[in-house]
Symmetry: D2
Subunit: 336 residues, 4 copies
């Protein structure tokens, strides 16, 4: 088994997809043990650390990477299987941020209101009990929420020579902020440049649907990913697979366009997998499909379209990459 | 126990919220056994019945009602608890419809494409095995999907003397098309006119998230609802409650506004229930809230914001109407 | 010449399209001299009259009418030519209004901000000099703006037995708030019910594009309209014509859908008038068309699509209703 | 007078903002005579040249540049005055393009329709008579439209180390596609990187509002721009000035957000220029402002907010850069 470890120092972190030389090369079949910083770069540590004061634009939402996948060329697909996503500290942070979030005026939904109060919340992370503990700031209300660790940001270098801030989700992936991106899931990313150049960041100890205030329970993570490459198979928008489901994503504004992209991809993908014509697949997904909300706060919004594989009679996808990565993951975990 | 039965003949059905005299008066505490027609008025019965040919605009999406609730006045809230929703036939229908649905040009998302093909699917409904059976039209693909009966349309007479087609969801309820509206759920509707004048229709044997093709597994239903009235408590947008969750809804375009309305209502409602200030509640819902998609195909789109009562420490809401209606429901069901 | 006068008392005003008996019947070819109140019902008269205090929901945006046009049946079109629109007082009012306008959180674009300050501005109206005088509230800045009187609200009873608040623009017309609706313009409205039942209100001494703060220079008006009926010609969305241009409107959210509706109607209408196929008309409008913004603050947004008749080789439209109404208007004005 | 000429060969053209070394350095006060290719790179020359066949993604919408402005640093503003924009050929092209335009399904407004027909129109450009001649493809309809030459694309290197396709408009400028960007206009662009790195392209012999089919009358141009630098003055979104007006732009989706950004900028800018408080400025722009539509077809939509300087009492802006550039332009033109 080929295992590599990579724990970047702060100055090795990236703030864009594209525009940067790889931090390393990996062969398909590799397992990478890596660490990621939280979206604040670890600078928000107490409720007195206001992000607008301790963070510096555009050095937000750092990602670990990019990694060059050997042999990856435009038109191929990289498969990343999340073996493990574990919060790295016994605390995690969340905040409001001026002009960011779904229930506030923003730079694009521009209004004459002053920004909402900038406020910071510090969560206790208890891995043993699998909970994050919320503490209200203006009362003694406290409640435990189950951990559900995930990565908000994963993607590759964009097409058309673009370089995008990590904060933006689009066809290359990026800051999709979907709770579906948890351990046990394989994400498929279409390759736009030689090596693909994937990066991972923005760990969340857990997240509500839509990340309505703009931030989740933001946590540095120790993460293990297994990497595969599917040659000659293109992927138009990031897709995901777990043991029971297939998923398509879409990131755009307005939110109905994110919904349309993701459902359109799931409908046409399902048609190709089952031999149904597009209208028959449209009907089937209309009754059997789910639509988990990703984010409704970033520069593009993200929706996921999801269907049980059993509904599609368990078709093989991506040359069984998920099954192979599952096996690799099991081997890795048992060998530890 | 006060039980009334109402099985309307076709000419007693309604096609609007508001604008019509009540079909009956009920006292709070009443259980109503009623029947509803499907959204096609029962006219689409085989795959050869194209809705554009057998249905006549605006006589679509009929509802049963309106019912006058004795004592209901503007500023009050009507609580409707769905005791039972049972498909009335051993078949149900779904269709595409010209210029209707999320992945097609519509009358508002107007484009130069000709409409998609109008096609009809007939599902077998097997109550004993609890499944709806999908049959592809252009292949022999068939699959069983679990039943999850619900009502797409429930609402009261609108404010401001308006009369709205049943197809439209808005602050008065209407065609929200959320799968959350199943048996065991209590829906809260703000009263705008004397008696409230609620109606119910558009049963779905099941539905995917967003009802992407524009129709669900459309079924006539035999439904039992228990009615309560909460005096002096206003409800800005329809809310729902089940044994474990509180839910707010929003219906608007673009879809992010439906999300905003529902999340804003859940945040401010949660604040009032817990004593949290708005920003602390915003944070808590951001990490613990869900956002099930209702419809992304009607004249307004619908989103639901949902949180476990346990996260809010199980606050009492609406004078425990849900608990009382649950008890009434249990008494009714055991007495049958 | 058939001339009727109608100056409603306050309790004769209407607050909906549909849902009300006509205030009078007129024959096609009639000239109506009528008066309209401002959108505040005349209750905001000084800068100390806050609309949230002196006005009562839903008694906002009153219209004069409805008028029954003899012989008008569903499938016909009513043509209303604006002969004259003259501010009735030497003052007019504008205000912000809590949760209303384009640069503020609203009931649908729901956010956690408190409302913007409610503030009132009183304009001097000088008909002789043709100006409205703006006075800042928090400085001595003052400036004269040219009068450009128009009606924000004109429409007929909606289809499908609906009744809509006058604040809402849709396919029946309503609160489109487009500065294009000035004297010299003919508006075409598709008839949905016997008699059509048109109403007119919401005069603006002038208005910026989009009515960004939510209100214009709101003025009671003395208005003269000439009425025609075009039998057997349907109109899907309100259209307008002046001596040089044809115009289509669309009202919807998001704003691109209002744009799409209006441009789609102008493209397909132009095709039918010129014999161009749809794609050739699409191309021509793409280079020669204008897109004046109506409102970006109401419950639906409004866009206008506009093209010079000369570009289309001066086609005859609506059986030359505009030309006939122009002649009638000239006869009326010369006879005064 | 410092005059430089630059006529790039095809392989010197750029396809991004950012990500490329400058083609030259210019001092503030320089006049640049430059040529630009059309959005097809000149490859569409007859009605048989379908862009999907003769053009290669992402080599679309080439721009001339980038130019490094000496002394320009982040926080400064570059002023570009368009002295002259002259179509370079006696023909220009327009096309539909699969999945591009306002009245068609696109990659983000994803639907199940096949693309509209791809069709090409060739316009005759007659500089002497100042017209572009439209020829229908499927009939012998032809019409002359007045020339109104403009540049669809102008911008600088983006902030945050981003590199963006030239097709995308955003805060750095880019493909705004507004007809307001004609000769006589000064555009102000906020500097994000050393030298600013501005580029210009996408000439249109004329354009309708919104560029509804996705392309304008696309023309190679001979263009003269005069360059100035305003030190220490930041510009959040591109602004424009002509002899009579000030203009702000916004580019976003949905279209109301483009409207909000542009109106918000014009309101707050007007407040700072006049001493009005924000609410008084909001009121004044609400009555006196215009809102010319830019594009409703690109990856972001663009709106312009516009007000006559006289309404604001003719305030000085950007240290009178427009007046100085006007004088320089006059001197240049008279010296030719």
């Amino acid at each position: 088994m080929n295992i590599v470890s990579y724990r970047p120092s702060p100055d090795e972190l990236s703030y864009t997809f594209g525009g940067r030389a790889p931090v390393g090369k990996v062969r398909p079949g590799t397992i990478i043990e890596l660490s990621t910083e939280d979206c604040f770069g670890g600078r928000v540590r107490s409720v007195d650390d206001l992000p607008s004061q301790v963070c510096e634009f555009p050095y937000l939402n750092p990602v670990t990477g990019p990694f060059h996948v050997e042999g990856a060329e435009p038109g191929d697909t990289i498969a990343l299987h999340f073996v493990e996503i574990v919060p790295a500290r016994d605390w995690a942070m969340s905040t409001t941020f001026p002009h960011f979030g779904a229930l506030t005026t923003t730079h694009t939904t521009a209004m004459l209101h002053p920004p909402l109060e900038e406020r910071v919340w510090r969560y206790d992370i208890d891995l043993a009990r699998n909970v994050a503990v919320y503490h209200a700031r203006n009362s003694d209300f406290t409640v435990e929420l189950p951990l559900d660790p995930m990565h908000g940001t994963v993607g590759v270098a964009p097409a058309a020579n673009e370089v995008r801030m990590t904060i933006t989700p689009d066809a290359h992936g990026g800051n999709m902020d979907t709770p579906e991106l948890r351990a046990g899931v394989t994400v498929y990313l279409g390759v736009n440049v030689e090596g693909g150049l994937f990066s991972i960041g923005d760990g969340h100890a857990r997240q509500g649907h839509g990340e309505v205030c703009g931030t989740a329970v933001e946590a540095a993570m120790n993460t293990v990913v297994a990497v595969e490459l599917i040659k000659g198979v293109a992927t138009p928008w990031p897709r995901m697979e777990d043991d029971l489901h297939l998923m398509s994503t879409g990131s755009a504004r307005p939110l109905e366009d994110a919904y349309r992209i993701s459902q359109h991809d799931l409908v046409t993908w399902s048609a190709s997998l089952t031999g149904l014509d597009e209208l028959d697949a449209y009907q089937l997904i209309s009754q059997a499909g789910e639509a988990p909300v990703g984010n409704v706060c970033d520069t593009n919004y993200t929706m996921v379209a999801k269907v049980a594989k059993s509904v599609l009679k368990g078709p093989g996808v991506y040359e069984s990459a998920h099954e192979r990565l599952r096996a690799l993951s099991a081997e890795y975990l048992s060998g530890r």
